[in-house]
Symmetry: C2
């Protein structure tokens, strides 16, 4: 835990919740002044916020006009709703870490016949030859596996749909947005939460959904399946038509997401992507040249640009504590790697100088 | 919509989201300074917030020690999770308005054999003679029906469990807390959201759950039923044991709920309840003495202290607009009563002077 007096200059490289995007504090102040916390979720004011946030997301991420954008409460809820709305019986999961496994387990809990293909931790899949058998209703990917730092190339995911046009594809991009350059028209569901790449307080998830997935959801509901009640795709779509949500949503979160997305449009997504790669390069270059410390993911092409995972010979616990003493937070390893790895979130809130500072701290340890 | 220049002195009597509790703006500033938005949900810092908020809620609302407090995303989600975790086949619903009906519809959507007893809008039930047949697994109440302003006396709800000790009872107290003086040990599930009586930004729901309900949930899960996956009572309880949540929660919302609950403890729940009744009295007295304007709920004993619903002869639309022009927001009627009623939230954020001001505005219209 960072001591109170350290807080002023603390920086979080946690993989999420992470450092807030630098404009968030100011927007929170504006939100207080403009009484955003009191806005009724059925009012014209709310509808304007809802519309504005979706417009900004659509522009920033190049989401096709015919795709819907739904607000839910977390990436984990998104997994539940995607399975409920797109799968009657058969789902298939590419699992290369704990978050891919969570997606798979969610399908199992829902009583689906969920099959999976697993990769060893730190390794990926060759998706180029993927053949989806006709009985599989939904193929699930983890675009960026936050537990191990393995990245699935966007083009390889897109290729699966191209080679298997009848397949439905869902992709977890929780810790990949806004960096991920996904062709949304090549997937049916993509979902993320806002406390990672968008640098916002947690408590909001977003699902991008194809028209085909909404049709499928309607069919499943018609057949008597429970597709999520108030958060079924059909209910979400019915309310989205009037720029509302079925329940009272996280209005403040939706407002902040819109504001930060507009900032990111102004900065330019190309610039954000380029900076992300520059910062990742700084981290990976340092690690590759270090002794007793190095990238966990062996194949450079599988390495995440947004979640840098390093193995620490002799254990990561002391390194994390020493960084903390210097006001720098990083994440421990996940699950079995808790005390063996450090994980570094590399999001738009982090500047090139921040990453250089982190590397300098590591150098001096 | 209130014009920007009116905002400075605007006040919201919406039935939720409503006026923020007066200390919220300051806590949001503290939260920014203390980097609450960046706190990792698996850290000791988060655990301290989780513990502190639950302790404050437990003290303020006198929640029994053996009852669990779970954080979800909304009152609507709470309805879904309560049905999923407490009902195999049979639920029974007392429905006296749109929110009671939403609870019932949620059970229907989940494929339950849901039965209901309906009261006409504005009317209530005599619960004193309620006999719960053995096959009914869960009896559902709406403690305060936000659509019509009908209140079910806490003692009458408690009486149902006392007379039928084997029955499970769930009660929607979304717009009733913290005023409602519920004996939590007389129910198995009680749930609320924070954007009403607690005067907080929306995006957080709370479920209070008895040990028996958690046992029942475990049984249902064991029998193969889907009890909500990551938000099943058993998963929520497993994480609650270590003061965490299964997913990344609305950390900022949980932090603010704790702070405002502590403020309310300092003010004193008795004082809050007394003030609520004083303010409700001001509203009802004015309405009762008015011509062409009066309480929608005929029986004074059924009238809500937290949601004042008035019928407006000749339509409520112009009245709502005129109030808006004076910087005062109230809610329209709900559903079929949209243009016939006004609804006034009477929460701890509203002072006695605020209610007097509102009545003065109404008097001058």
């Amino acid at each position: 835990m960072i001591l109170a007096f350290m807080r002023e200059r603390a920086i979080s490289f946690n993989v999420g919740p992470s450092e807030l995007f630098p404009t968030v504090a100011g927007y929170l102040e504006t939100a207080i002044r403009d009484r955003v916390g009191s806005i009724n979720h059925r009012s014209e004011e709310y509808k304007a916020i809802d519309r504005s946030t979706k417009d900004a997301l659509r522009e920033l991420l190049e989401i096709p006009r015919e795709y819907q954008i739904f607000f839910v409460s977390s990436g984990t809820e998104a997994m539940e709703r995607v399975i409920q709305n797109c799968v009657d019986i058969h789902s298939f999961h590419f699992v290369n870490g704990e978050f891919g496994d969570r997606f798979y387990q969610q399908a199992v809990a829902l009583g689906k016949n969920a099959q999976k293909k697993s990769a060893d931790p730190g390794f990926s899949f060759d998706l180029k030859q993927t053949v989806v058998l006709p009985h599989v209703e939904l193929v699930c990917f983890t675009g960026n596996e936050t537990s191990t730092g393995v990245w699935l190339p966007e083009k390889d995911i897109a290729q699966v749909k191209k080679a298997n046009p009848k397949a439905f594809v869902a992709v977890d991009i929780v810790s990949a947005v806004p960096y991920v350059d996904l062709d949304y028209s090549s997937v049916d569901c993509a979902f993320f939460s806002v406390q990672k790449g968008f640098g916002l307080p947690s408590g909001l998830g977003v699902i991008v959904v194809s028209p085909q997935a909404i049709d499928k959801s309607a069919e499943l509901k018609k057949s008597g399946l429970y597709t999520g009640g108030y958060h079924s795709f059909t209910e979400l779509a019915r309310y989205a038509e009037r720029n509302q949500t079925p329940e009272t949503p996280n209005v403040l979160g939706i407002y902040l997401l819109g504001k930060v997305s507009q900032d990111m449009i102004r900065i330019g997504i190309d610039r954000i992507r380029k900076d992300t790669e520059t910062k990742a390069g700084i981290g990976y270059d340092f690690a590759t040249g270090s002794v007793g410390f190095g990238p966990f993911v062996q194949n450079p092409f599988d390495r995440s640009m947004t979640t840098l995972v390093f193995k620490v010979d002799g254990g990561s616990k002391e390194m994390i504590e020493r960084l903390n003493e210097n006001g720098v937070e990083v994440s421990s390893g996940y699950g079995q790697f808790r005390d063996k790895h450090i994980r570094i979130g590399n999001f738009p809130a982090h500047r090139v100088e921040d990453m250089e500072g982190l590397v300098n701290h590591l150098r001096r340890l």
